[in-house]
């Protein structure tokens, strides 16, 4: 991405390696990792999501094949499952927290973001794709002074992918496209294992080392909720969340 971000990422990576070498633990302990799964539910009626009129850019409707679009502030599945909730460990992770090595993808598809909410570790690569025929600009707006850099960059339809990393934890960085002002999404930068609830409200945190943690769920409209969980070696734990509709 931007040069200083790239430099930042490189420095970060180097620091991690150096830190690792300095501690020089004799061989990494092969602990079996735990897992947290669960479901997020919305209690009460979901607010009306306005349909989106994309007529401004006819190519949007074309790539959507006529599928209607509506707002995504609150997306609820048939059985009340609340989508787009980020669940992560807010307390209890100590020492070196490994950075997920697989890049997350963030797509612009049919003039909406897929996914609407994406979670990423600081230093983890994020691949931004534009599957549309039209141009989008990616315009995240992190808090000033929080360590993450704002940028504003366009990506031509079918253009080469962008690779982005974030340096600091931040909940949540809003992202917009100004060419299609309805397009918005959130990037949640958190350390450690995390999961985003899908259409039925279910989520999964993998590779959680055994221990006791505070698990936090964040939703763009309903805010945060936390609970304690204890993860044991090799055993999946469940933790459910319920947000109250306003």
């Amino acid at each position: 991405m931007k040069t200083h971000q790239r430099i930042g990422a490189t420095v970060f990576a180097l620091l991690l390696i150096v830190a690792g070498l300095l501690r020089s633990t004799p061989g990494v302990r092969a602990t079996a990792m735990g897992q947290v799964t669960g479901t997020v539910k919305l209690d009460g009626p979901a607010p009306h999501q306005k349909p989106i009129d994309m007529s401004k850019d006819p190519s949007c409707a074309q790539t959507r094949g006529g599928a209607p679009a509506s707002g995504e502030n609150v997306v609820v599945g048939t059985d009340g499952g609340l989508a787009n909730v980020v669940v992560y460990i807010s307390q209890g992770l100590n020492g070196d927290i490994p950075v997920a090595s697989k890049p997350v993808t963030f797509e612009q598809k049919g003039c909406q973001y897929v996914p609407h909410v994406v979670a990423v570790n600081p230093g983890q690569h994020m691949t931004i794709l534009n599957d549309d025929k039209t141009m989008h600009n990616i315009h995240p707006d992190p808090k000033p002074g929080g360590g993450n850099n704002a940028f504003n960059k366009s990506q031509l339809g079918g253009g080469p992918s962008l690779d982005v990393t974030w340096t600091a934890e931040e909940i949540a960085i809003p992202v917009k496209c100004n060419v299609h002002p309805w397009m918005h999404a959130f990037i949640v930068v958190v350390k450690g294992p995390n999961g985003v609830s899908g259409g039925n409200g279910s989520f999964k945190l993998e590779n959680v080392p055994p221990g006791t943690y505070t698990l936090t769920a964040w939703h763009e409209t309903y805010g945060t909720q936390s609970q304690k969980v204890t993860v044991a070696e090799g055993k999946p734990v469940t933790a459910d969340f319920t947000f109250k509709a306003k």
């Binding site: 040069t3 315009h139 960059k153 031509l156 917009k176």
Partner: protein, 587 residues
């Protein structure tokens, strides 16, 4: 006055490479420095226009060198819309300021004006040196924008507020890039103000004996008038730029109203006026196009008599008064850039009338050139071909002005490619043609060698036809409603115009390729061109009364006396201004 003269005549030639060629106070070296800077700028500007034209007509064509220059702005050589606009902004800025304000005025003016008035140097040689180096710093600041992460600004050479004022929230390039741009322009203003003062004082105070205003060469007249216009216009752009810089860096709100929202963020500004910026900018901007074109008038009027072997019809007076009228009126027409801007529609009428009336002195100037050809013995050396080309381009450009001067017709054509065609003809390519005319004309004087005529003519023909192919077509697509400053044509409306776009791009590439003939000619002749005599064209003004190139103090210590006006031609015969012989031509 006497003192400056004595001073200028007595400052000794400097020693050492640095003093002689880099931080030189010699107006001739400074002139060459300006010309070199603008030549480099012109090729950069042209390369940018190629990149733009290719992108517009062949949006999928990759330009690897751009990808290398800016992996961010042109990933894999395919430019992003913001990078297109950045290139466009820099093309306009470089061409309007660093090429066409620099070359015909500061470049030739510096080299030729002191010689034409019989002086040993400019009135203030040190100030003169500062003008160039401040301009150069301005150039470096502008060039630096290409190498910063976000690239150059994208707000066009007009840098309208609040797009240019609010900072990086408004888009890539609007952060550091725009700041550097504003500082660059402010530098350019300071340099131009210093240069203008120097030109005015030199013309008024340093003329040699007998060189009355009525005997002043027409090029010097034009530079003199131009210096006044520059002085008044840049004196407004400078504060305008400083206020913009304050809005950007100091948190003021001169040009930013309250309640602005970018990317859903309310901006911490209130009370400013974007229209104020437009008024200040165009109060400078319209005279600026005359600052560009007046030296062209002068150069062409100066070259004509030599190659038609007779004076201009109406002598020095008609053309000079036309220039003064144009220069003066240029300060009361700025609102014609703002007909659809939300200014009061009554003001539109107020600005439209002087705008239409400014065509009268312009038409007089054209009539003078055209009707001077009547009964002439025209010689077609390259400088003359370029001068004739200038007249043709200027007529064509002027015609478009009738459409844009009227608010009713402008409300359809405003911001279409018609405007782009119009201003490229009038101020862009006309001025470039006059600059070429001056270049081929004074080259022997500057370097003591003659440029190759065959290559010169080939360069002319390709350029002349190329310019018409590109810029007439822009007028036509303008009638069809093709909007300017678009980085791609995605509208249902614009797509049918693609064949015209491709035609223009191919023509522009050929036009640009022809400029390398010129570049080759200029460099090759410098070393290998035939040695030139002191007065190769059989001209009459003082620059031809000294050696080629002139010695350090221009006339080897001689104090010249002038007996005639600059246009003493009669077929083969001509009388030098310094010759005590009888006059041979009227006026």
């Amino acid at each position: 006055m006497a003192e400056t003269q004595v001073h200028a005549a007595h400052h000794a030639p400097s020693q050492g490479f640095i003093r002689k060629y880099v931080f030189s106070v010699d107006h001739k070296i400074i002139g060459i420095q300006y010309l070199t800077l603008s030549m480099v700028s012109a090729f950069i500007g042209m390369a940018l226009s190629w990149a733009m034209r290719i992108h517009l007509a062949y949006p999928d064509f990759r330009i690897p060198i751009l990808g290398w220059l800016s992996p961010n702005g042109a990933p894999n050589g395919l430019m992003t819309p913001e990078y297109y606009l950045s290139l466009m902004t820099m093309h306009g800025t470089i061409m309007a300021f660093f090429v066409l304000t620099a070359a015909p005025f500061a470049g030739f003016g510096n080299f030729v004006l002191p010689i034409q008035v019989g002086a040993a140097d400019m009135a203030f040689p040190r100030l003169n040196m500062s003008s160039f180096w401040v301009t150069f710093v301005g150039f470096l600041l502008a060039a630096a924008t290409f190498f910063i992460p976000d690239g150059p600004p994208l707000s066009g050479w007009t840098a309208y507020a609040p797009l240019s004022a609010v900072g990086s929230v408004a888009g890539p390039g609007q952060g550091l890039g725009q700041t550097l741009w504003v500082l660059s322009i402010a530098m350019f203003c300071v340099a131009s103000l210093m240069g203008a003062l120097n030109f005015i004082v030199t013309t008024l105070d340093m003329r040699t004996k007998g060189l009355t205003l009525s005997r002043l060469p027409l090029s010097t007249w034009a530079w003199f008038i131009d210096a006044w216009v520059s002085l008044l216009a840049f004196a407004v752009l400078l504060p305008c730029g400083l206020l913009l810089a304050l809005d950007r860096l100091g948190g003021t709100s001169f040009f930013i109203p309250g309640g602005l929202v970018f990317n859903d963020q309310l901006q911490p500004h209130s009370g400013g006026s974007p229209l104020l910026f437009q008024h200040l900018f165009w109060f400078f901007g319209h005279p600026e196009v005359y600052i560009i074109i007046l030296p062209a008038f002068g150069i062409v009027s100066h070259i004509f008599p030599t190659f038609i072997r007779k004076p201009l019809v109406g002598g020095w007076k008609v053309i000079t008064f036309a220039e003064i009228a144009v220069g003066t009126l240029s300060f009361v027409v700025w609102g014609h850039h703002m007909f659809v801007s939300g200014m009061s529609p009554f003001m539109a009428m107020v600005f439209s009338v002087p705008t239409l009336f400014i065509t009268i002195p312009s038409v007089i100037a054209v009539l003078v050139w055209v009707f001077s050809l009547y009964g002439a013995n025209i010689r077609f050396d390259t400088p003359m071909l370029y001068s004739l080309g200038f007249v043709s381009l200027f007529i064509t450009g002027g015609i478009g002005g009738f459409f844009l001067a009227q608010p009713s017709t402008d409300s359809y054509l405003h911001a279409t490619s018609f405007v782009v065609g119009h201003f490229h003809f009038t101020m862009g390519l006309s001025a470039i043609f006059a600059t070429f005319a001056g270049f081929y004309y004074w080259y022997p004087k500057i370097f003591g060698r003659t440029m190759n005529e065959k290559l010169g003519k080939l360069h002319f023909w390709l350029s002349f036809v190329g310019v018409y192919c590109v810029f007439i077509t822009l007028h036509l697509t303008g009638f069809a409603g093709s909007v300017r400053r678009y980085s791609a044509f995605v509208d249902d409306f614009m797509i049918p115009l693609m064949p015209a776009q491709r035609f223009m791009t191919i023509s522009a590439l050929l036009l640009g390729a022809a400029q390398f003939i010129f570049l080759f000619n200029a460099i090759w002749s410098r070393f290998k061109g035939p040695k030139s005599s002191d007065n190769p064209w059989g001209a009459t003004t003082l620059e031809w009364a000294t050696t080629s190139p002139p010695p350090f103090d221009n006339f080897g210590g001689r104090q010249l006396t002038v007996y005639h006006g600059p246009m003493e031609y009669d077929d083969e015969a001509s009388v030098m201004q310094t010759s005590p012989e009888a006059s041979i031509a009227g006026t």
